[in-house]
């Protein structure tokens, strides 16, 4: 059973417009959420994160929103740029004890920004 779900495998957006990537989770023990970006033939790179005690975190063009009651988070990119074209993974973190953490990843959403 998938604990982190990204229901849209792909998304196309016009350059300059807003991209909205969605993620749902089922495990209420998750207390930290991250978005990773992955280009072909490269490893995922950390993009932005949010703690469960917040509902919004902004970093430049990227904003992550968290709705705990709905167990839903979203990543907004505005304005979208062609260089943002990549696969975006949502990940959720839970403590495994002794100061260490486990990440559970969604399947990813491929974003294509059209010039």
């Amino acid at each position: 059973d998938q604990q982190v779900k990204q229901n849209s495998p792909s998304l196309s957006v016009q350059e300059g417009r807003i991209s909205i990537l969605n993620c749902d989770y089922t495990n209420s023990m998750f207390d930290y959420f991250l978005w990773y970006k992955k280009y072909p033939a490269e490893g995922p790179t950390f993009l932005i994160s949010i703690s469960s005690i917040k509902d919004k975190n902004e970093d430049g063009r990227f904003t992550v929103f968290l709705n705990k009651s709905a167990k839903h988070l979203s990543l907004h990119i505005v304005p979208s740029q062609p260089g943002d074209s990549a696969v975006y993974f949502c990940a959720a973190s839970s403590s495994r004890g002794a100061g260490s953490y486990q990440l559970t990843f969604g399947k990813g959403t491929k974003l294509s920004v059209i010039p």
């Binding site: 930290y32 990773y36 490893g43 993974f89 990440l103």
Partner: protein
């Protein structure tokens, strides 16, 4: 090095052969993770090392898979008697110690394994 280094970047092998994949984490990072990404899938957790503690092997799909981490640094993932379903990108990540920074995992570029 500046980032997580994995080798080889690509590996083609015949069914039934053993393979070894190497990960060199960021210097000073205490935790190391192995993941597998099959085509069209998310990242599947395989194994986790934290310092000198016993590794968490709960994600290993079968006893053909094993991993070790020598001296708290370099890790090797070994797949014995490879099968075609083992074909995937194998990713390694490491995390620094301290606070919420532990949650951010830094990934290598991965090893693309193709079993013919």
């Amino acid at each position: 090095g500046a980032g997580v280094s994995q080798s080889p970047s690509n590996k083609v092998t015949e069914k039934g052969k053993d393979v070894e994949l190497r990960c060199d984490p960021i210097s000073g990072h205490t935790a190391l993770y192995w993941y597998r990404q099959s085509l069209g899938q998310g990242l599947e957790f395989l194994i986790y090392f934290q310092g000198n503690s016993a590794p968490d092997k709960s994600g290993l799909p079968s006893d053909r898979f094993s991993a070790e981490r020598t001296g708290g640094s370099v890790s090797t993932l070994t797949i014995q008697r490879t099968q075609q379903e083992d074909s995937a990108v194998y990713l390694c990540a490491s995390t620094p110690s301290g606070g919420l920074a532990k949650n951010i995992q830094y990934f290598g570029a991965g090893t693309r394994l193709s079993v013919l």
